[in-house]
Amino acid sequence: MTNAIIEVTNLSKIYKTDILETTALDNVSFKINRGEFVAIMGPSGSGKSTLMHILGALDKPTKGIYILDGENVEKLNDDELSDIRNRKIGFIFQAFNLLPRTTCLKNVMLPMVYGSVSKEKREKKAKKLLTMVGLSDRMLHTSNQISGGQQQRVAIARSLAMDPALILADEPTGNIASIQAEEIMNIFQDLNDKGHTVVMITHELDIAEHAKRIIQIKDGKIVSDTKNHTQTRHKK
């Protein structure tokens, strides 16, 4: 068994409109191994979001091969992609994307509903995860009754619901205050310490420095891929 969770070879994404062809990703190749904590950095328009969507199986590449945890994503149909996302990827979005007016508990349980997990197991797991992110007292609050940082913690709990191979975070601290952002990064580091693979997209260097490896993208190409030896850590 290879150690690679993500294996991307010559990946390109071209957006076509009637008059314009925009190359968002241009022949990108890299590998991410199990247990890594990678930050993908780049200015806006660099193609990092496009890369994120393809890595998350939310969008398909125009060219190239993407192997996620041993599965060639390109060959999968719509429903199989849903299944992949459900089982292998835990999403954390910039805008949190929790179901409005729905309790934190139910939000965390949602991926398990689609993963055909029994009701008792779902509730047990969701409670465990919410306790882990420090929201044991907010389980029955609805998503619009809690702060941005708390919402993102619910989203992290949700991303872990199906024990995914990969946690994929798109600008996870983009919409929250900096103190809360630190808390979020702490959670990511704890998860990574426990063996979770975390891939995070950001445009902020101080956030990226929490990762062990930083990939820089510009104009659809990887410009640097370095180990981050000065990982920022907040020890409690």
Binding site: L58, E71, D78, D83, R87, V113, S116
Partner: protein, 420 residues
């Protein structure tokens, strides 16, 4: 090593059915305003159709039963204003006289007639001490009751003696009694003024039902001679009602009377007759063609309200689903399959249309019930209207819940997530 993903469920839907229903109820409860509006649209769409169709049909039934209560084996002779070309106008003529009625009664040529009731009808203001009403005044003879199936609830009807003496006596219909004296009052022996004359009330008829113009409960009977001489100053009759010996003899009676009257009026050509003879069946068929038109009018209105209701349902469903495109994107990102999403929205639409449908049916029935109570008409609900209204609204609701959901579920999740 390549690890193959094997979904636990073979079906494309990765959610249990009962769970789906519970989930849908949960979602509908979350957004009370949106749910309420969608249900309201369906309720009004269905309710109005049921109420309108019921209104049309109960009117038709009450008209039919009213005509049937006019009398049995009844022929009505009405004068005609005259013949101008091909146009025959009935009513309002002066060609029928008391002598015609007497002739029908006494002629040896007439063998099929049981009772003859000469009548003069007009409208006048009727006044008591404090109340007054405009009602129809029927100049009648003692035979009126038998011919028209009128029965008394108290007192006496107009006698032959009253007719010959031009007596100032009156028999009141129950509605007129209420109009003039209020409920629970016995007006017999009291005096009323009709036109310029004072009359003594001698009897009250029993209610025959029916409403509106031409109700047999809203009238005042006076002796024929009194009506002609004292109230209206007329020498002619407005109609002669005839009871034939039996239903089978109706046609024969009509012929006998027709020839007698043609002869008496010195007319040789039946097409130039200055009177018409209508049987109850003629009136019934005329009336039912009128109410038929009425019903098709109401059906048209119902169809339009069904259409409008349907567009309302369509609108709210489209808006509801479009508004939730992001939610659909999120659910797909978290692992919902296309079919799961479609089933979820379909379940929601079905629940909405069924709740709305049932409420709408209740609303329609209650509205019809209130209408029939107010107008004291027959309460009648057509099962077809219920089925039609329900099926059409449900179909529209489900179709327009399903279609945009399918469209949204087919989007790449990222497009749906970005949807504004």
């Amino acid at each position: 090593m390549t690890q193959k993903i094997t979904p636990k469920l073979d079906t494309k839907n990765n959610m249990q059915f009962t769970e789906q229903i519970l989930e849908s109820f949960g979602t509908l409860k979350l957004n009370k305003m949106r749910t309420g509006l969608a249900v309201l649209g369906i309720v009004i769409g269905i309710g109005s159709v049921i109420a309108l169709v019921s209104l049309g049909q109960s009117s038709q039934q009450s008209i039919t039963s009213q005509i049937q209560s006019l009398g049995s084996n009844l022929l009505t002779i009405s004068p005609m204003r005259g013949n101008s070309g091909m146009v025959r106008t009935s009513g309002g003529g002066t060609t029928l006289t008391n002598a015609d009625a007497t002739a029908i009664k006494t002629s040896t040529k007439i063998t099929t007639v049981k009772t003859v009731s000469p009548e003069y009808t007009g409208r006048l203001q009727v006044v008591t001490g404090k109340n007054n009403t405009n009602t129809s005044i029927i100049g009648a003879t003692s035979t009126y009751m038998a011919v028209h199936n009128v029965t008394l609830s108290s007192g006496a009807f107009i006698s032959d003696k009253d007719v010959s003496s031009t007596a100032r006596v009156a028999v009141l219909g129950p509605t007129t009694v209420v109009d003039l004296f209020g409920e629970n009052v016995d007006p017999i022996g009291q005096s009323i003024r009709i036109g310029l004359q004072n009359f003594t009330i001698i009897g009250i008829t029993k209610s025959k039902g029916g409403s509106g113009l031409g109700s047999q409960d809203d009238c005042v009977y006076v002796p024929l001679t009194t009506a002609q001489k004292l109230l209206f100053g007329a020498k002619h009759l407005s109609s002669i009602a005839i009871e034939a010996n039996s239903a089978e003899l109706m046609d024969e009676a009509r012929n006998e009377i027709g020839f007698l009257l043609l002869d008496r009026h010195n007319l040789s050509d039946p097409s130039k007759a200055d009177f018409t003879i209508m049987s109850q069946n003629d009136i019934l068929s005329t009336a039912s063609s009128v109410t038929g038109t009425f019903t098709s009018l109401l059906t048209g209105i119902a169809a339009i309200s069904l259409l409008v209701g349907g567009i309302g349902i369509m609108n709210i469903m489209l808006v509801t689903v479009t508004e939730r495109t992001r939610e659909i994107g999120l659910r797909k990102a978290l692992g919902a399959k296309k079919k799961t999403i479609i089933t979820q929205f379909l379940t929601e639409s079905v629940i909405l249309t069924f709740i709305g449908g049932i409420l709408g049916i209740f609303l329609g029935i209650i509205a019809s019930l209130i209408y029939s109570k107010i107008n004291s008409s027959t309460f009648y609900i057509s099962p077809i209207s219920i089925i039609l209204a329900f099926v059409v609204s449900a179909a529209i609701g489900i179709l327009f819940g399903w279609y945009p959901a399918r469209r949204a579920a087919s989007l790449q999740p990222i497009e749906a997530l970005r949807y504004e």
